[in-house]
């Protein structure tokens, strides 16, 4: 039995299987609409996350399965002091697979140690969010037709953004991927990512605080939110905040076939005027997230050749 706790739990080959299965599902969803009949997904959400929970639930319902669960710690036994280990041992007898979100880092690892059903990490604090990474990779592969040979721009909060860290870790496994890391000085990628991943693997990258002038180089622009509270002083925030807002004017400098991704929710880092640009694919990305979660559920339940 396999679990998905970290994005790197899957080998490149396993990932390829899941992404291909996701594409098959996307092309003919009806072929897969009964494949999970009689199966149940438990969504154990110890903190609210409408988008991820609904994406998982939609994925299981699309496969003909059923869902049960809770959407905040208050409505679970955690409020009575039950441990993650005890909760998962009980849930193992109610469901066939579970997706867990927890504010504490490593909670899904604990669950996987005691679980009798596959555990999918649906986000553990600022640590891992592997199905977001799967969604990002699926979106890039579906739209670009490949995962290597490209320049990926990452913009915004690169220091605290776990989706950014996971995506960098996942993308460096493909050939000839270059990164343009665009952020304020205060929000550059953490040192370990620079030294232990990018430098160690000889990955080509630049760090800059200029979005506009780097736009023409990019094949993918992955936007994230720059939060006011991350800055040390208000002055810097006011000086820099607009540099990291993507608007129609900056899009003029981008390639015709570049794509803009965003893990959502978006606040103001992408102006709404960009939404109608065919290169803005963040809402499509959310839709793709359901397909790739369907593929993952099938694979973890052993319902496909891509079983893990």
């Amino acid at each position: 039995m396999r679990h998905l706790i970290s994005p790197l739990d899957l080998s490149v080959e396993e990932l390829e299987h899941i992404l291909c299965l996701g594409q098959e599902i996307m092309e003919s969803p009806e072929k897969f609409s009964h494949i999970c009949e009689g199966k149940k997904l438990a969504t154990l959400f110890y903190e609210p996350s409408t988008r991820t929970r609904l994406s998982f639930e939609a994925a299981m319902l699309n496969l003909g399965g059923k869902v049960l669960g809770f959407s905040s710690a208050d409505s679970s036994s955690a409020s009575k002091g039950e441990s993650v280990a005890d909760t998962i041992r009980v849930i193992s007898s109610y469901a066939d697979i579970c997706a867990m979100r927890h504010p504490k880092e490593g909670a899904p690892t604990v669950a996987a140690m005691y679980s009798e059903i596959p555990v999918i990490n649906a986000g553990d604090g600022g640590h891992n969010h592997p199905t977001q990474t799967l969604t990002d990779l699926f979106t890039i592969k579906t739209l670009m037709g490949r995962l290597g040979n490209m320049t990926v721009g990452m913009c915004g909060d690169l220091k605290f953004g776990r989706t950014v860290h996971s995506l960098i870790n996942a993308m460096v496994r493909y050939p000839n991927v270059r990164f343009v890391l665009i952020s304020p000085q205060e929000l550059k990628i953490p040192d370990y990512l620079r030294k232990e991943v990018l430098d160690q693997k000889n990955i080509e990258y630049v760090e800059t605080d200029q979005l506009e002038q780097n736009m023409p180089k990019l094949d993918i622009l992955y936007m994230t939110r720059v939060q006011r509270e991350r800055f040390f002083n208000e002055e810097d925030y006011i000086r820099l905040k607009d540099s990291f807002i993507l608007d129609a004017n900056k899009m003029k400098y981008a390639k015709k076939d570049m794509f803009v991704l965003h893990p959502l929710p978006r606040v103001n880092e992408i102006a709404t005027e960009v939404d109608n640009d065919p290169r803005a694919v963040y809402f499509k990305q959310a839709k793709y997230g359901v397909y790739v979660r369907m593929a993952l559920i099938m694979a973890l339940l052993g319902l496909d050749k891509a079983k893990l």
Partner: protein, 141 residues
């Protein structure tokens, strides 16, 4: 140098970083042993300037490799019949439980008290251990 009586049988934990002996004493629960234990603090050392030494009399059965996680310069001498019969170099264990504690306040171990604090060795050369739950780094001395 202060002279502590010669050991007939026992072990000498040598080259402990000066000031570190009490931590090792507590970790190995030496207070529970019913035998002579000598703690020598700030002994002169050519290599280290100052060092601590612990001498324990009698047979002693415990995995001492975990000491390597706390202080890799430590050396172990096993004494029998007044002679050093074995000099042990400490090798780092792949996994250690409840030797080091995860200090990440966001780690699940911070709220679930009964969880064992387990770390796995991720970089032997740099002596880096990571918490198996949150992957926080611990670097041995």
């Amino acid at each position: 140098m202060l002279n502590i009586g010669v050991l007939n049988e026992g072990i000498v934990i040598d080259h402990i970083q000066a000031g570190g002996a009490m931590k090792i004493y507590e970790y190995l629960n030496l207070e529970k042993l019913d035998c002579s234990v000598a703690i020598i603090k700030n002994a002169r050392s050519n290599k280290m300037g100052k060092k601590d030494i612990i001498k324990i009399e009698g047979p002693f059965d415990i995995d001492l490799n975990v000491l390597g996680v706390l202080d890799h310069k430590i050396t172990i001498n096993i004494i029998k019949n007044n002679e050093i019969v074995e000099k042990k170099d400490l090798s780092l264990p792949e996994r250690v439980t409840n030797i080091i504690r995860c200090k990440n306040p966001r780690c699940i171990t911070s709220i679930e008290q009964e969880l064992p604090h387990t770390f796995k060795l991720t970089d032997r050369e740099k002596r880096i251990y990571r918490c198996i739950y949150c992957e926080s780094k611990f670097r041995g001395k």
